[in-house]
């Protein structure tokens, strides 16, 4: 084999996106070509670095966001949390302000279970378990917390399938 592997082919190789024949060809070439192996190492290092940088910079889900979502659902107009979130924008979430805000949330009536729109957890989980029995879980993430796929409870499959056809319209 005289031709070296192109960078684009190596990118596909690193991402395991080559056809079985091309994959085998790339493997064989890499085994005998130092230059291509170095190029491959660079691609693999790049991917590893991106992953590692993302992991090192991982953030927690701000409770301010879920409070603001509930706030928007309860009120047509942006409520206090949305306004506070907007007000905080230029400050890029000062930790002290956030702490005060979160503290305030927990003593506010919003934090009371009665005020929170809830459903009996048991009902929801039962519905989920029942659905899971007939629907294989398909979440692809490796994180155990994300293994479970979301199941819409109380909605017959046919209805959901019908709605799914229009999902693009709703989602876009």
């Amino acid at each position: 084999m005289n031709d070296h592997l192109s960078n684009d082919l190596l990118v596909d190789f690193v991402h395991r996106e080559l056809s079985p024949a091309d994959d085998a060809m790339a493997h064989a070439h890499l085994a005998g070509c130092v230059a291509c192996r170095e190029a491959y190492e660079l691609e693999a290092t790049l991917t590893e670095a991106l992953r590692s940088a993302a992991k090192a910079d991982e953030r927690e889900f701000p409770s301010l966001v879920s409070a603001a979502v509930w706030d928007r659902i309860r009120h047509a107009e942006p409520g206090p949390f949305a306004k506070l979130a907007a007000w905080l924008r230029p400050a890029y979430a000062l930790p002290v302000a956030a702490a005060v805000l979160i503290g305030g949330f927990f003593v506010s009536p919003l934090a009371h279970p009665a005020a929170h729109p809830t459903i009996a957890a048991s009902y929801y989980l039962e519905a989920h378990a029942a659905q899971s029995a007939i629907t294989p879980l398909s979440e692809r993430s490796s994180s155990p917390a994300l293994e479970t796929s979301m199941i819409a409870p109380g909605s017959p499959r046919g209805q959901d399938d019908g709605a799914a056809a229009g999902a693009v319209d709703v989602v876009r």
């Binding site: 991402h15 996106e17 790049l46 670095a49 940088a53 889900f61 879920s66 979430a93 398909s138």
Partner: protein
Amino acid sequence: MGEPRTPLEPPTPEQAAFLERAMTQYGKATYNFAYRLTGNEADARDLTQDAFVRVYRAWRSFSPGTSFLSWIYRIVTNLYRDELRRRKGRFQEEIPEDNAPQEFGGQRPLAVTPIDDFVDRQLSEPLSKALAQLSGDQRQVVVLADIEEYSYQEIAEIMGCSIGTVRSRLHRARALLRRLVERAQAQQER
């Protein structure tokens, strides 16, 4: 962000439970995805908030048994694209403008270096800066392929484009990132 603040119907108990569970289980992943796309926390918060409001509105269109994460990533991707278009440019990055890989001070040539602390200490920051230089589409593909580890097929479904488009965007984005790393490598060897 651009999400209209139109009145929302009061939630049914099932809808409220769906949203609550979605945020509890997928809030962090969604927020981090949004953060990687926008490069700053304020916009990531807005994007995540808008995405969950859409989840709330469209909760019945989610197909049980399919990946919720893919679904919400698709929502975030669409919102991000709309917002980019609206701003006719890019999001304000929190990282410095200067993209010169000055920080490289390691001793070993990159190509024969095992993936170790070099990656963590020397490459992370310049790579974050390089990511900021990519176009919105390229950035989405890199985040989905390299960080979230989706297949080209899955990325095509999330982004609503062909596999060929995913492939070519990724190739172009990686070529850009590669040039940066090679420049850094050259500085090292000096």
